[in-house]
Symmetry: C2
Subunit: 109 residues, 2 copies
């Protein structure tokens, strides 16, 4: 049951949450390791993770006292499809795509 578009798009609207997602592209992470590079409280990050999980963009699994966060890229599917319905733009230009990632991923996801 995919989260609705409201939930997914508003989850994606926050730069902290997008940055978390891009961190999770590398590997699954514990909550406190997700929080480490941010200059905000662990509680704040914990709330962001709840929002990402509510949107289905991540899942969380507790093992011992550590809660692991895992990216769930499929949750982007419906939103992506929705965007393609406005897709008078041609299929993504791969050069532009790589340049974009180079530019955006390090800081903002």
């Amino acid at each position: 049951m995919p989260a609705d578009l409201d939930t997914v798009f508003s989850a994606l609207a926050d730069p902290t949450r997008r940055r978390i997602l891009s961190m999770l592209l590398e590997d699954d992470m514990a909550v406190s390791d997700v929080a480490d590079p941010f200059e905000m409280s662990l509680a704040a990050i914990s709330k962001h993770l709840v929002i990402l999980a509510g949107a289905g963009l991540i899942t969380q699994e507790k093992r011992g006292r550590v809660k692991w966060c895992k990216l769930e890229p499929d949750a982007l599917r419906d939103a992506s499809i929705w965007m393609q319905s406005f897709g008078q733009f041609e299929a993504v230009n791969l050069d532009a795509f790589e340049a974009f990632l180079e530019r955006e991923l390090p800081s903002d996801g």
Copy 2:
């Protein structure tokens, strides 16, 4: 100068605004015609249009006393590209796409 991802995603997070975008897929529209099918004030719709314009998703041009609204689908490009960076999902399945449009476009865009 494309609007940033924050702006685009939060513009897309509201169902009224997505519905407006799907109406504009059909044709350019005047502000009051956009407002017609909604059960909310013209002023509220006017604010939504300002937000869509701020995200670059539409442009507005005043001719006489009528302000025309036009969809600008290119503004979705960066956001779409960003989403594809999480694109472990394969290229959009066209059957699923059409089913999705059938399901979503009439009410919610």
